[in-house]
Symmetry: C2
Subunit: 498 residues, 2 copies
């Protein structure tokens, strides 16, 4: 058994590290690479990704997995090795179910679709993207077919990002959230808006950069095992547990880099605190996108947009931006927490964010189920925007063309953003129970209490456990939207005097 | 034939691009990576390098090569395809002659030797490095054995860097050079040294950086198809013909970054101007290290340390460093061209540089031939330093331990530096014949004449031709040390009034 396991691990490590090499190529492309090299880089990335896939789905790994599975009864069920075998079996079977011709066609279609999407978005002309998008959804429907029978045709798509999660469970949670969140947004909209003049200013880029570095360092992002760089679309990427890099975008018209960096540092702190014993295996990463998002959005919003954090950090912000010297902290706090229904998801505040996600999820499911034609997407989108946020996009560029995801073939991804919000509040309640002076610690700029709790309960496990199991281990309950709804209601009632 | 060639090219492209992926990993390690990630990166690099080697030495490539060779009589001998088949055959046979167990042992030995070398260098204790170095040379001797019969046991080692070059030819050239260069150095040493106070100053790093960028841009390094970064040991690396990156080291105690950047930009301009039709093949790189060095040292020294260049660029240097405002150009010119025998090769001036190289070559050959024991290397080194430069290193850290090359297993590499110098002067004579107002163009900061000539005659060919053949095509003659000796004599006679 030990010999076979060792051999299996060596083969898996090779495939896994090739995946990380692909991540290096991608990071370099987004951070450093001259545009002129896009063709060669696409070729390099595709070779490495294909080899990673070939290595992982090799017959040898399949045989070793079967042999190990037959002999693994001696392993502790929660041990690294037992979890590894379980996750490998799941991933191996999933990857083997998808024919390689499909993988090639899908990857080719997504590449071409991305180009069409850019054109369509730039000219706000959905018709340009419609044929590609139809093909993408057709292929995604076909993908689900490889996993039949299923409870719901959307399950296999969702499971690419949330292993083991059921569409029915997600819909149930969202059903609970939607009416309450719509009601909250309506109540807020009837109250006077806070004064946001302090955010409509020029914010020197190098000061924003320094502020971002200081915030990430204060949170406990370990710069000796990572680095911060600039990228057009901020992201976090892991080359090894000792090299987890984050990026940020700095633009002088907004102060957004600060919270965007805190978001990415939240992702990175998760990865940096995974147990080193899981290195070189697929367990050496976060458990799922939703769990990951629970960490990034907790740091960005629950921590980063709180009064406690500002008591610690607002003086630093004022030091960097002298124009804020005369702005009271309370004014700044209310300004960065302003609720304002808008067209663009990535710019949405905490109160409206989930609505953007639910809209997308409902449309994705309707298209995959065949209830909605891709051609009717723009009108369906706009109708839901009116229902949920009371606004209508003036064009499809600000509507159904705004996100890159579908052009990249990512269907099933959006719900993880909203699930992450809900999980973040569930976890936050638990941390507060266990660390009663958490708020005071944050006011003093002390984050070891929070980080230590997260590491012990969540981070160190990497992806040993499926997300639903992990949430139960961490919080003692299933995914539950109540803590998030309570968090929103309590925060905004106070700010808006509801 | 065309189908087979197409198939062959696709397979070769895969191996070649994997090599470039390994280059990305290495660049990232030297420029960006946190030290903590060294272990995982070593694993990633080794996987990619091994796969590149496996792919290139596959039986399928061997068979296709044979089939294409049998049918290639219809190809123009100088066509891209004919040259590709020739080079592939040569490289394939070379790589297949070396057993993979040897490759693994050698790579492992070199890794370990590097660690021992660092320790030995830091404590100037040769004994610490001696066992590793002995093993390295034993393995290199064994390597030559795979290529027997040979004219000289050093040929296979030299040919790793200079395909087709003969040790006898190199020695013949060096025999001519050595006495004349020793004599020149002696004559210079008897003359008063120029005033170098202007270089003993503090040079603000960010001004040096800007100066380096401006110099590279003026030379015609295309920043839209590359980039400049900082690295401890400056180097140039190619990820594609549209992504050729250079690095420089900036230290406030010297102005060295300028000429170091010009050196790397010289390498990079060569690669950037290779014909795009050679992309994705092993021809898409410089013909050899010596040819490469002829380009880097031409830009660094023949151009960069000339009066013509300073007439154009010294005002820019003065603008960046106000302390030089009162220093006449002539004083600066003489200071950057000071001849001073020293212990360290990488700091050597143009007059003494080749002596450092010849010393290393002679010692390498003596050890490989078994005439010199590794244990006797320090004393042999010091003796030659006395003979050639009239100085004795006070310790081995400043003597035989100074270079990283041997610890990395690079034996046969050093002569390429001196050959590059000689070729640079041969080429320079030809450019001057064809572009009579070259000096005036340089004075005006116009480099298109030089660059255009180099591109047309040399750069675009990539490694289509073997170095000796290429030199003949470019200059009309064999490697010939006279132009370089003439260049040195004429330059230093004038400066030192010989």
């Amino acid at each position: 058994m030990q010999d076979k396991l060792k051999k299996l691990k060596a083969l898996v490590a090779e495939a896994h590290e090739l995946g990380r090499v692909a991540a290096v190529l991608d990071w370099d492309q987004q951070v450093n690479m001259p545009h002129a090299a896009a063709g060669a880089r696409a070729c390099q990335t595709s070779i490495v990704s294909r080899l990673a896939h070939e290595k992982f789905t090799s017959a040898e790994i399949g045989e070793l997995l079967e042999e190990c599975a037959a002999e693994n009864s001696s392993l502790e069920p929660d041990s690294d090795d037992a979890c590894l075998l379980k996750v490998l079996k799941r991933d191996y079977e999933r990857q083997c179910k998808v024919p390689s011709e499909y993988v090639a066609e899908f990857s080719h279609t997504a590449s071409a679709a991305h180009v069409e999407w850019e054109k369509a978005k730039n000219s706000s002309d959905f018709k340009l993207f419609e044929p590609s998008l139809k093909k993408i959804f057709d292929l995604r429907r076909q993908y689900s077919g490889f996993f039949a029978p299923y409870d719901h045709i959307y399950d296999p798509l969702l499971n690419e990002f949330e292993p083991g999660m059921k569409t029915a469970a997600v819909l149930e949670v969202f059903e609970k959230v939607r009416p309450q969140q719509v009601e909250l947004i309506k109540a807020i909209s009837e109250r006077p808006a806070p004064d946001c003049k302090c955010l409509q200013d020029h914010f020197v880029p190098h000061a924003q950069w320094e502020l971002s570095v200081n915030a990430a360092a204060a949170m406990g992002y370990d710069f000796s095992r990572g680095r911060l760089d600039k990228a057009v679309h901020p992201f976090t990427t892991t080359f090894s547990l000792n090299d987890v890099r984050i990026t940020t975008a700095v633009s002088p018209e907004t102060l957004a880099a600060l919270h965007s960096t805190m978001h990415e540092a939240g992702h990175a702190i998760y990865e940096q605190n995974i147990s080193q014993s899981l290195e070189y295996t697929p367990l050496a990463t976060g458990a799922s996108l939703a769990i990951h998002e629970s960490q990034s959005r907790m740091w960005e919003n629950i921590v980063g947009r709180s009064r406690a954090f500002l008591r610690f950090f607002y003086p630093e912000i004022q030091k960097m931006f002298p124009q804020l010297k005369t702005v009271p902290m309370e004014t700044f706090y209310r300004a960065i927490n302003k609720v304002s229904p808008g067209f663009i998801r990535v710019e949405a505040d905490e109160a409206t964010y989930n609505m953007h996600v639910m809209l997308r999820l409902e449309l994705e499911i309707a298209i995959i189920e065949g209830r909605l034609a891709v051609a009717d997407l723009p009108s369906a989108w706009n109708e839901k925007m009116r229902d949920y946020l009371g606004i209508t996009p003036p064009n499809d560029g600000l509507g159904c063309l705004q996100d890159v995801h579908w052009s990249a073939g990512l269907v099933g991804y959006f719900p993880t953003y909203a699930l992450g919000n809900m999980i973040s509040a569930q976890i936050w309640e638990c941390v507060n129970n266990d660390v009663p002076d958490l708020e005071q610690q944050i006011e003093r700029g002390e984050f070891e209490g929070l980080r230590g709790w997260l590491k012990e309960k969540l981070h160190r496990h990497g992806s040993k456990f499926e997300p639903c199991d992990l949430i139960k281990r961490v919080t003692g309950s299933e995914i539950n939207p109540e803590p998030y709804l309570n968090y929103l209601r309590s925060k905004y009632s106070e700010i808006y005097g509801l």
